[in-house]
Every structure is written in C-alpha cells, then in structure tokens.
C-alpha cells in the first residue's frame, strides 16, 4: 500500500466535550495504526490541555441541534453537567478514557501535542497553564512545517 497515510496533523479548535473528543480519538487511532500524529490545539480547543479546565469539559446543551433537546430545556441550570455525566458514563463503558487520561495516553503513545501561539497570547496564557506533556507553543507556520508531507484534519 504505497498510498497509505503515514502522518496526520489534527487541529482541535472547539472546547466543548463533543468538540474535543473526535480529534483525540482520531489521533489515538492514528497512533494505534502506527501513523505519526501531531495535535494542534487552538482557540477554545486549548481547554483540552489546560490544567485548569481539562477535567471540567462540558457537552454544549444549547445551540446543539444534534442533541435533540429543546433549546429552553438545554438552558436549564445543571443540564449541561447532567448530559455530560451521562456521556462520560457511556464512554467509560466503551473504554474511552476521560480527557486528562486520554491526553496522557496520547503523549505516551508518541503523539506530539502543541498549543497555538496566537491563541495563547489572545487568552493571556503561558506555558505553565498547560499540561507537562505539551511539546510546545508554536505558530501556524511552524505547524504547517510539522504537518508537511502528511494529512491535515481540522475539527
């Protein structure tokens, strides 16, 4: 298979539970196939690697028609926490780890994790805001350099 994928660079740009997981699953799936993986966290996607936030990610229960929940119900206090808890339970049954454990699994599997420099500056963050496993804070240009020769996936 000469046209097999050998490298993927995945961009995670959203900070909701459902915005973050697909990128993590894609990156882990790549490593499991022996494919090189970079993950670039930008904008609210950086919550997945932010020590203060990554244990407290929530499903968006408003403005999320896929959930099939009336907007007014989705906006009730505690609704997002409730739906998130249900989803976490289901994921645990399927052996999908919580985000902090997933990030460690990814780093240990050899995936390289990066934060977007522009976003870091915009949100007044520093290296210390992020998990130890972070490979670096890089510019868009540097990201393209790392991604060269592989596939880029935006989520």
């Amino acid at each position: 298979m000469s046209n097999a994928i050998e490298k993927v660079s995945i961009i995670i740009s959203k900070g909701s539970f459902e915005g973050i997981y697909p990128g993590l699953i894609m990156a882990n799936g790549a490593r499991m196939e022996g494919i090189e993986a970079n993950v670039f966290f930008t904008f609210f996607g950086m919550d997945a690697i932010n020590k203060k936030h990554y244990e407290h990610l929530k499903v968006a229960t408003v403005g999320n028609p896929g959930l099939h929940l009336p907007t007014m119900v989705g906006g009730l206090p505690g609704m997002s926490a409730l739906v998130t808890r249900q989803m976490e339970k289901k994921m645990e049954e399927l052996d999908i780890p919580p985000v902090p454990e997933f990030i460690t699994l990814l780093a240990d599997s050899g995936a390289k994790l990066y934060a977007c420099k522009a976003s870091v500056e915009m949100f007044d963050l520093t290296r210390e805001s992020f998990i130890d496993e972070l490979e670096g804070i890089i510019t868009v240009g540097e990201f393209y350099g790392l991604a060269a020769g592989g596939q880029i996936i935006f989520t």
Binding site: N28, M32, E33, I96, P97, E101, L105, D108, S109, G110
Partner: protein, 105 residues
Amino acid sequence: MSTAVIANYPIEVDAEGFLQKPEQWTEEIAVAIAREVGIDPLTTPHWQVIRFMRDRYLQTGQAPSIRTLGKESGVSTKELYQLFPKGPAKLAARIGGIPKPHGCI
C-alpha cells in the same frame, strides 16, 4: 479467509494475516509472524504483551483496548509503542494469533 503456511503449518488467516482460528496458534507461529512484521527477536516484554492480549481475548472474546493494555498488561503505554512501533494492539493481536481488534480505542 485463506490458508497460509506459517512456520510450516497450514494456517487460516484473513486478508491482513490475522489468524482466524486462535487454536491453531503456537509459539513458533508467533516468532514467524513477528519476524514478518519486523520484530526480531521477541523479548520477554513482547511475550508479556502478546500473552496478555491472547489470554484476555480467549477469556472474554474481545481483544483489549490500548488503554487496557497500558493499564493492565504490566507494560506501560510508552513501552508498548517502543516494543510495537507500528501499533501495539494490532501487532500483538496478530502475533498472538487472535482476530484483528475492531474497537476505535
């Protein structure tokens, strides 16, 4: 499904070389498959992962996830990828003579 000759035994395998009948597996076959995928020799930690993978499949009918491998096989995730760079779960399943794992995790 087709028949391949591995270590001089006729073995039922799928298109990607995964054994379809785990009972046909022997250690000689493991060594031959490992060599074919570029792992030579099989060291003690390789065997530990392969046996864990195989035993868990024979007990539960399902191959363990990479998460379970890292937590319960006694070999850390980092080491798993050093031992099986082209994918620990997939390669340990193939060398251990069980069908290809189907999970996404």
